[in-house]
Amino acid sequence: MQIYLPIAEVSVNAFLLLGLGGIVGVLSGMFGVGGGFLMTPLLFFIGIPPAVAVATEANQIVASSFSGVLAHFRRKTVDLKMGTVLLIGGLIGAALGVLVFNYLKALGQVDLLVKLCYVIFLGVIGGLMFIESLNAIRKTSKGVVPKRKKHNWIHGLPLKMRFRVSGLYISVIPPLIVGVAVGILAAIMGVGGGFIMVPAMIYLLGMPTKVVVGTSLFQIIFVTAFTTMLHATTNYTVDIVLAVLLLVGGVIGAQIGTRIGVKMKAEQLRILLAIMVLVVCGKLATDLLFQPAELYSIGAAGGH
């Protein structure tokens, strides 16, 4: 069934969008990532204009994250306190990121920057996570109990706060910095930032994996809601029909994904996320490294 999208001004297959939304929703619920880094390139591929894809994707992530976070609330696997600290940092970062984005847009080459950001961050994060979780799986199969590093330089910082759900007693400075950094990247790359936030929470803050997913989803809701409003009021690029089609699949997928995620071991979950991140990275890297079939592209006027 073909549906004409009023803002994107293209006609697309409704079932295709429902399916895409569903798949990305499952991943979102499983890993605590918004799924924007997967969905946005997929939407480009089916012919949605990039500006509309990025803006609408933010709106869809609000829905699937909200659906996912409710499931996590029931399991008490959301650290509200940590989420709020990250969120404060995230909103500051997002605002800074928009400024950086507009500055780069004036210089040109914003497309390239976004792609390079993707390749570098996906590659580094995916690679590190893959190696780490592979080691963890090896250790557990050998019967060695993994132990978390309890003390490092982070514990020497002032303004300590107790995060009961995460079982942490650390300074608020590291989570705030993580929040700001993720916020900046999220605004530049047009995604919720879950795929950066999740590893940062696990490896930098030392949060337990089971709390990380719910907490990440919690803060993604607010960051993407903010992004949606920004796009809707400044660029008029949020396509509500596209969003509805994607989020119907997305919210159902998120529920299923959360249930799958709970049944899996933390290392398995991490290694799967790492593989997924590396696959997307590989795809983007080949686009940059190999000669494209069409060298020319059409853009809106005055884009350089």
Partner: protein
Amino acid sequence: MLRLLIAFMFFAIPVTAEEVVLGKSRDEVDITATFNGADILLFGAIKREVGPLLDGQLGVIVTVAGPDEPVTVWRKDKKLGIWVNSAAVDIGIAPTFYAVATNAPLSEILDESEDVNTRITINRAIRSVGPAEGGSDIFIDSLIRIRSENRLYQTLEGAVNVTKDTLFQTEISLPANLTEGDYKTEIYLTRNGKIVDLYSTTIPVKKVGLERWLYNMAHEQAFLYGLMSLAIAIAAGWSASAVFSLFRQ
């Protein structure tokens, strides 16, 4: 003497009296929620004054042009090992849709000089800003190639059927990814490559119903529209969660 006068009067009537009369299958194209492109049937007749039939090859050229928009065409080049957008040309006027249908190859029924004046062919309908810089032609060609692949630019030589040099008809199919606006439709009548008559009309293409309402709201009440999008997202997220927890119990 009288006979001579009558004969003289007869010949004084202008001889190039050929005119286009047009009908079309629809006066406007409505974009609804299930819009998936549209076909427009254009048909008509060539009206003639009483007199001898004109000689020379008859040409019927139908053009349908969507709203003009300036665009920028980019070219990727390999720099430091990666393919990046490097060169760009601003194209001042490029129709978002352009179709030319004719009854014979354009080279046979349209003189180059007439094309220069009327900008009938796609190449002429697109103009880059300012004086043509060196190498901007290849960018225009690329624009035409990419848009032709998407059926936005169509050159349909031989797609106009002419019966007995009098009746003609053709069908133009509009793809689903249309830009709203007035689609300027023109029918040129040529004899030996010279234009003898022109008929102009417009076919409005516009969103209707829900599509119209959403589009207007997104632009006129952007804040409210954004809030509505978020409300729908939250409601959908909540209801999926509620339905699933019901299943579990």
